[in-house]
Amino acid sequence: MNASGKPLLEVRGLTKGFPGVRALDGVDFTVRSGEIHALMGENGAGKSTLIKVLTGVYERDSGDALLDGLSIHPRSPREAEECGISTVYQEVNLVPHLSVAENICLGRQPTRFGAILWGAIADRARRALARLDLKLDVSRQLSSCSIAIQQMVALARALDVSARLLILDEPTSSLDEREVAELFKVMRKLRDEGMGIVFVTHFMDQVYSVSDRITVLRNGQLVGEFPTAELPRLQLIARMIGKDIKEVEALSQHHPDAESIRESEPFLQVKNFGRKGSIAPIDLSIHAGEVVGLAGLLGSGRTEVARLIFGVDRADSGEMKIGGETVSVHSPRAAMKHRIAFTTEDRKAEGIIPNLSIRENIVLALQASRGPWRKLSRAKQDELADRFIKALAIKTPGPEQLIKNLSGGNQQKVLLGRWLATEPRLLILDEPTRGIDVGAKAEIEKLIASLRKDGLAILFISSELEEVVRDSQRVVILRDRKKVGELSGAQITEDAIMHTIAAPTAESASALS
């Protein structure tokens, strides 16, 4: 390993804003030749914005980027490639209907007199793949290859230009352990050839097995740069979620009001419940009047659990019981019949109906459960809208305001209102406090507590450990799409959760080394 190589990429004071958000705020970032540099951070940390600025998808507002000491200013992915920065994106961004060879050379096919030289393309593709120790029929259609192979093809494409800096944006999210090990072998080889590699991932084990250095971002700002060997896992997690480790350890043991509710039958119980490629089989139960927290880093499988329970995805193993009876929930509509409600993480894509009013957004789920013909009267709709605007303190000039004109926190409250109007017995909240201001966060947490007291069962998903600790009677901890622990009552502390998340599993550690 050659972690003390000369700086290859130097980013100084990079700032990039979007309307209403400052996605990057004066970030410094240095990558040296011959190192694998992990870029870490939770959602909204600014990782993807930083990468998109480097690859020319976004234009930066201010700051400088130097590659080998020369200032660069790519305005498109193509210009970035010409500078020597190549990228492999999280979703395989290739053309599935074209051949492997063509995907490697698209946009830069060798031509003679304007005619594409298909033979040369195949040769070039074979050479690029050989560099990754991969033998593959390059005339195969890309979509007939496994995701892992497609990822390798994307890598080969990135290497086909004389790249000096390679950016891998969550390349492993859909690979199995053996495939990840293959990828790491290639990454190490490229590093030893002197390439600088930026590696974005949310898998802890992978960071520690392959990276030389770690840069942590949080809320668009640089937290720090550390040699991997000198940053214990716990420290890394603490920095990612914005806690001082001493502060974490000093935190008094937390005791939520943990009345014993265990003797009654759980409202919802799942056993061995899972879906291939999404979440490993999991056991979970939630009682009426209980908040169960789902903790874990981004990508650990929290949302996947919620989607299975709500019937958005179908489980391919295990069973689900509601009130002791085995049920099959194959669609959100079926879940709603069992009085389950689900506020999604992605408010914009999966929650709000942007061009409809607050009133219409609130009555939608209740109306849907009644079907189209039994329409709620306008008076009833107005009453519902007024009730929830008041009860949830939604700040709006009136119920006829379009929901898209509200702030994130108020949109979230409207969505909560939509589900509370259906009088659910289980409420699944996926990151209900994401991207909303502090005051609104506190109100939503207060609401969770009061709903619990009213006898609702609540499954609460949040990246903010504080909230999970504060609001949950029980916490289920996920890592790498598996359940890795469960804490209850007095055991629930941020420290305990972080230790559970950080503990490396023996099998994964050996598989990756």
Binding site: V312, P332, M336, E350, P354, A365, A368, P372, K375
Partner: protein, 348 residues
């Protein structure tokens, strides 16, 4: 009489404009007003109204009468477009419905109600077919309805055995030529359909579901809306509208012409909907807006006719309307043009 009558007309129109000044329908109404005003000033005889045999005649009545078929189509098309789809087959369904009605009435000698019921049943079947392809098989709406657009006219000719079937049955002729309360009966039909559609979409929650599915399909499904059923119903209703429009078109000429009935009407209907304020991407829909859109198109055609411009050239202004409306609705176009305009604060 004509001056006073015209003054009353414009006073009522101005009142309507004022009452709708904050609504989506305002701009289509303004466009229609400008076109009418042009005719008031420059087209002699355009604003004349005659009373013959107790029936009203005149260019404005003619617009209502001739625009009826597209207005009917636009009602169903509005719902389909609001769900984020489109139905290209309505013209073909018109031809089928006309042919079925004429064939039942003439070749099989059945009574008018039987002929009408049979034709509408076939039209509903056609709508259900489109709905099945779109909502059931998940085929893109343009592609799915293209099938019936291509095959439909052939089916209509098959039904009518390639002939134009003429009929004289009074009830059938009445639909497209009769008068009711001094006005063309087609207008009554349009108003009944419009009232029915308003009741169906606003009196039930169907309208809410259609708008929510068109605006955000995923979020609607996650909120428990049966998006497939909603889409299916939209195509089914469009089939019904196309069927009625087909009967009117056939009745108009007292015959079923499988080759020409409803030709290109699907495009006029789509245009009417878009002009009326419903976005082609789906979401909020405006049934009355679509009616105004259809009237605008018909007024454009009648204007050219009244000014002795060949009807063949009528597509040119129509094309300009399409591109203009597209540009008005395009976020990117508005931003581009905003750069050339003096800066003005736009309220959020």
């Amino acid at each position: 009489m004509s001056l006073a009558g015209n003054l009353v007309f414009w006073a009522v129109y101005a009142a309507i404009l004022f009452a709708t000044r904050r609504q989506r329908i305002f701009w289509p109404l303004v466009a229609l007003a400008l076109l009418l005003l042009f005719n008031q000033l420059f087209t002699p005889g355009f604003f004349d109204l005659d009373v013959r045999d107790g029936h009203l005649y005149g260019a404005r009545i003619d617009i209502l009468h001739r625009g009826a078929a597209v207005m009917m189509l636009a009602l169903g098309m509005t719902l389909v477009i609001a769900t984020g789809g489109v139905d290209l087959s309505v013209g073909a369904i018109m031809a089928i419905a006309g042919a079925v009605m004429a064939q039942i009435a003439v070749a099989h000698g059945q009574s008018a109600p039987v002929a009408i019921t049979g034709a509408l049943a076939v039209a509903l079947l056609a709508g259900a077919w489109n709905g099945l392809l779109v909502a059931g098989f998940g085929i893109q709406p343009i592609v799915a309805t293209l099938i019936l657009m291509v095959a439909g006219r052939g089916i209509a000719q098959l039904v009518s055995e390639g002939q134009i079937i003429n009929f004289t049955e009074p009830a059938l002729v009445f639909m497209g030529n009769g008068h009711f309360l001094g006005l063309p009966f087609t207008l009554t039909l349009v108003l009944i359909l419009l009232a029915g559609f308003c009741a169906l979409t606003r009196g039930t929650a169907l309208g809410l579901f259609i708008e929510s599915v068109g605006d955000n399909d995923t979020a609607s499904r996650y909120s428990g809306v049966n998006a497939r059923l909603v889409k299916f119903l939209a195509y089914l209703l469009t089939g019904l509208c196309a069927g009625i429009a087909g009967l009117v078109a056939a009745s108009n000429i007292k015959g079923a012409d499988a080759n020409h009935a409803g030709l290109y009407f699907e495009l006029d209907a789509i245009l009417a909907v878009v002009v009326g304020g419903t976005a082609l991407t789906g979401g909020r829909f405006y049934l009355v807006g679509s009616m105004v859109g259809a009237l605008l198109i018909q007024t454009l055609t009648t204007t050219m006719y009244a000014r002795n411009i060949s009807a063949d050239i009528a597509p040119v202004p129509k094309a300009l309307v399409i591109i203009g409306v597209c540009l008005l609705q395009s976020e990117k176009a508005r931003r581009t043009f905003a750069r050339f305009l003096p800066k003005r604060r736009i309220p959020a």
